[in-house]
Amino acid sequence: MQIVREQDVVLFRNRVREYSTKIGMNLVNQTKLITAASELVRNMLKYADGGQVIIEIISNNARNGVKLTFIDQGPGIADVPQAMQDGFSTGKSLGLGLPGAKRLVNEFEIQSKPGEGTRVSVTHWKHGR
């Protein structure tokens, strides 16, 4: 799914909600995943002027989960460990987006190089573990 405008955030969140309902995720885990997704997609819009998200349902040993992959061709992150710290922001935000999203989901992976864009993938299992 392409993300180009702020309106796409709402559309995208609804799409994530659909997928997580489909695998029977409960409300708390759904909200966690959606909030994390919302953080990441907002980052993508703010710093990279939009990008692409892939939504997948994955299963592993009889447990199901939703995997989201965010890919952008933005400026990239110079210092990833620093960006993962609470309260660090190059914009004027709270600096909780990346670290908060990491705490909300089960698996979190980030790859970024300055000038080459950023790729973040998150996975949340149906039962939240």
Partner: protein, 290 residues
């Protein structure tokens, strides 16, 4: 100049007549939406533009500069038609019916020269197909503008500030809080605090589907602005799943008064303003007996 361009230039009048009679005989003609004269004028303008553009020798690239006047006319037509209430199908067919008119004329002019006729007809057909795609594109763009305007309007009207008691305001927020919306919410709230002289504002976020760090940041800004005006803010309607999410995100709302429901927020507001609400049992009984 190729053959078709020459023929169109020469037979412009016949083609226009053909085209008009095609349109007029069509069952789907919306003479309730557009008068025959307007339709004639519109069609003539478009055909003239097309003839001029084809005369330059370019017959396949409609994105070239020669076709700018044509695409402009077509965009214009579809935008006005979208406003007048035409369906995209009707607008698309309008352009496509020109194809039939040109093909008929070519058939008469090139009678007997099958190979040439085939070549010219496919050429015209390709050209007009891409032109009709433009009508759809602009049609959709026109609709999108309407949708954008509506969403602006929705965010305007969906932030009512309600006076629930003397000195107590409530502000139910429904939908997503983005920067533009927060601005509207904040302005309305601050203005209403001035107008009513209230000292407590209750922000109810039961209708906000997701609270992420941006929404939280916007809420905090609204709260600090209200405090600057000398009023206290209570945030209510924090659902169980949202509370968990906020904690995981690491957002610190501890210096803001929060309540789970609007009712308990109202109770807190009453006690802050030293108002007591008593149930009057005797009167209630009296009411029942009557």
């Amino acid at each position: 100049m190729n053959k078709t361009a020459q023929i169109i230039q020469k037979k412009k009048k016949t083609i226009l007549e053909n085209w008009m009679s095609n349109q007029l005989s069509d069952q789907a003609l919306r003479d309730d939406l557009i008068s025959n004269e307007d339709l004639h004028k519109q069609s003539e303008e478009l055909l003239n533009g097309l003839a001029r553009a084809m005369a330059t020798g370019n017959v396949d690239n409609i994105y070239a500069a020669e076709y700018e006047p044509v695409t402009e006319i077509i965009s214009d037509i579809s935008v006005t038609r979208a406003r007048q209430g035409f369906s995209p199908r009707e607008t698309g067919l309008y352009v496509l019916s020109l194809k039939q008119a040109i093909a008929d004329t070519l058939e008469q002019e090139l009678a007997g020269q099958h190979e040439q006729l085939y070549k010219e007809v496919t050429l015209v057909s390709r050209l007009l197909d891409s032109l009709s795609v433009i009508t759809f594109e602009t049609f959709i763009k026109g609709r999108e503008e309407v949708i954008l305007r509506q969403s602006d309007e929705i965010s305007e009207i969906s932030t009512p500030v309600i006076k629930v008691w003397d000195g107590i305001l409530a502000l139910p927020i429904i939908g997503t809080l983005d920067s533009a919306r927060t601005q509207v919410v904040m302005e309305n709230l601050l203005q209403e605090i001035v107008n009513t002289g209230s000292n407590i504002a209750i922000l109810d976020i039961s209708g906000v589907p997701a609270v992420d760090s941006l929404v939280a940041q916007h809420l905090m800004k609204t709260v600090s602005a209200t405090r600057l005006m000398g009023a206290e803010c209570i945030i209510s309607g924090i659902r169980a799943e949202i509370a968990q999410t906020i904690v995981h995100l690491g957002i610190d709302l501890s210096n803001i008064k929060t309540k789970a429901s609007l009712a308990s927020a109202l109770q807190l507001a009453f006690s802050m303003n030293k108002i007591e609400v008593k149930s009057n049992a005797r009167n209630a009984n009296f009411g029942l007996r009557r």
